[in-house]
Amino acid sequence: IIRGQPARPGNFPWQAFTTTHGRGGGALLGDRWILTAAHTIYPKHHNKENDNANPKMLVFLGHTNVEQIKKLGHHPVRRVIIHPDYRQDEPNNFEGDIALLELENSVTLGPELLPICLPDNETFYGQGLMGYVSGFGITEDKLAFDLRFVRLPVADSEACQRWLQTKKDTSPFSQNMFCSGDPAVQQDACQGDSGGVFAVRDRNRDIWVATGIVSWGIGCGEGYGFYTKVLNYVDWIKKEMGDEN
């Protein structure tokens, strides 16, 4: 998290800390599912020769401190479900960058471990709507020891598209994504935050909703960040989770 601040216990009780090919994030859905980015499990620049062929997927929950969350023990994963649109072999294509991890056992919810809700309409994606992105990823100069968050606005898609062009980046920015941030304030998510969610508050229902998944960006804190648009995958998520949604 670039230019963010430390989170207090219970600010983001859905936050998961994952280690597969490196640090990643995720969000608790219900009491047995983790919503994350597919690329944290199947990275784009996967070096088969150097990487472990069968990396150990560890999921941690329930704390804001990396050391402490590890001490609580990992939650074994029963099943990994990658969205069928995800293409690991296309380095610049983050289409379908969404995955579900089914835990072996249900977790017991409490003040520091609570699920986040799924979006149900487009209003969560209005330009300027403020959301929170949290994660254990890179800060300005070092890896985070504690969970940090940053408050970001949903950005104008066209502005983001133009910005991408200035960066000469060919990564597709599709309707299944949205962008956030403000090049002026240099706040952003960064490596290690992937899989964490962009959470907004639904004031009507007084609930927090995961509208996006930290997916990709060009550099960190240099402009905009790009997120998987969860609303477009709600049906798929619900189908995979069965009657537990």
Binding site: N11, D31, L109, L114
Partner: protein
């Protein structure tokens, strides 16, 4: 004499019949039928020279050492003494027919020809048991000492109860060692009652009636068995047993009280010595279907279905429990209970109890808990509990229009199952509450 072969019927004719019979003849035909039969004889044709007193020619019939008649003439003529259609009957199994003719058959100087006779005989059953005071033939009169029974062609003797027919087939001797009475009611008495009973008796009168009946004994007057003033029944005595138990030994002139033996098997043993002239005893026994005690509930929750004022052998009753109670036979739970009245007047199984149904410890609710609405820890019929979820992290799943409170109430039913009014046995579910952090992020700086 001509002896006819022994047959059941036959014909007898005069010599040369139907041609005229010869003169100067005297033949006797002996008709014999099997023993136990009499001979009946009828003339079908009769044409014998008529004479005054049948002096010349005649037919003489005799049986049982008696002459039954002397006949001559024609059947439809007033002359002589024709037999007509008269039937002749012997007492024994033998009849003699003597035919006598003189030297000539003339009438007013004219020679007459007479055809003689044709008679038919048949064997007729002899009722040997009928009184025959005039019988003269030895051996015809039955000598049954007690009872005589006739049958076609013979008879047999039998004896009164308590006596046994002897080898001679006629005489009876006291024998009462195994008298059996199986009718549901009847009379039993000492031999010769009310005349003095015979000496040296060893009698056993067994009353055996259908199982499920109980025998009642009622002695009749007179009751008289040789007695002694100081010693109890030293000479003769009547012992009564039921179910192998001695109900008493009786003698004297005081008849025993009426006895309810409570048994379907009663034995009366009657012993007499070599002397005495008491008149004996007689009793009337009756039977009654055995009764079982009135079933009684052991607790206030037991229901005896359709109770009857009286229960007897083979009757049954059904027991159920009030709603919410369970039939228990010892520690065994029963689905139903029926008891049958046995032939010994007892119920074939003991009265059960009704125990209140217990639903047991309520199932634990994942991510939730329960509390007792009714008395804490009591899980019996009509007890109620309230399930609730661990809020605020979990919320109970409810149908539209229902409340968590309603969904969480479970009552112990009469079937011993915890049930919710809306969902029955189905347990409630506590679902995670999403998007409600207890400590959401806030920022004061503006």
């Amino acid at each position: 004499s001509i002896y006819l072969p022994q047959k059941l019927y036959g014909e007898v004719t005069s010599p040369l019949y139907p041609k005229p019979y010869p003169s100067d003849l005297e033949t006797t035909t002996v008709i014999t039928v099997p023993m136990g039969y009499r001979v009946k004889l009828v003339f079908w044709q009769f044409d014998v020279e008529p004479s005054e007193g049948c002096f010349y020619d005649y037919v003489k019939i005799s049986a049982d050492k008696q002459t039954l008649g002397r006949f001559c003439g024609q059947l439809d003529s007033p002359l002589g003494n024709p037999p007509g259609s008269k039937e002749f009957m012997s007492q024994g199994n033998k009849m003699l027919l003597t035919f006598h003719t003189d030297f000539s058959n003339e009438e007013n100087g004219t020679i007459m020809f007479y055809k003689g006779f044709l008679a038919y005989y048949q064997a007729v059953d002899l009722d040997e048991c009928a009184s025959q005071p005039n019988s003269v033939e030895e051996g015809l009169q039955p000598r049954c000492q007690h009872l005589c029974h006739n049958y076609v062609g013979g008879y047999f003797c039998s004896c009164h109860p308590g006596y046994e027919l002897q080898k001679d087939g006629q005489s009876c001797q006291a024998e009462c060692s195994s008298e059996l009475y199986t009718e549901p009611s009847g009379y039993v008495s000492s031999l010769e009652y009310p005349q003095p009973y015979p000496p040296d008796l060893r009698c056993n009168y067994s009353i055996r009636v259908e199982r499920g009946l109980t025998v009642h004994l009622k002695f009749l007057d007179p009751f008289e068995i040789d007695d002694h003033q100081q010693v109890h029944c030293p000479y003769d005595q009547l012992q009564i047993y039921a179910n192998g138990k001695n109900l008493g030994e009786f003698c004297g002139k005081q008849r025993p009280p009426d006895l309810d033996t409570s048994s379907n098997a009663v034995d009366l043993l009657f012993f007499t010595d070599e002397s005495g002239d008491s008149r004996g005893w007689k009793l009337h026994y009756t039977t009654e279907t055995i009764k079982c005690p009135q079933p009684k509930a052991l607790d206030e929750f037991t229901i005896i279905q359709d109770p009857q004022p009286q229960y007897q052998f083979r009757d049954y009753f059904i027991v159920t429990c009030k709603q919410g109670y369970q039939l228990m036979e010892g520690n065994q739970a029963l689905l139903s209970f029926t008891a049958v009245c046995q032939n010994d007047g007892t119920w074939h199984r003991a009265m059960p109890r009704c125990k209140i149904k217990n639903c047991g410890q309520p199932q634990s609710l994942s991510n939730g808990d329960f509390r007792y609405i009714t008395t804490k820890g009591v899980t019996t019929y009509e007890a109620s509990i309230q399930y609730h979820c661990h809020e605020p992290y979990y919320k109970m799943l409810t149908r539209a229009g229902s409340s968590e409170s309603m969904r969480g109430i479970y009552t112990c039913t009469a079937q011993g199952i915890w049930k919710n009014e809306e969902e029955g046995e189905k347990m409630p579910r506590c679902l995670p509450v999403c998007g409600k952090p207890v400590n959401p992020v806030t920022q004061k700086e503006r």
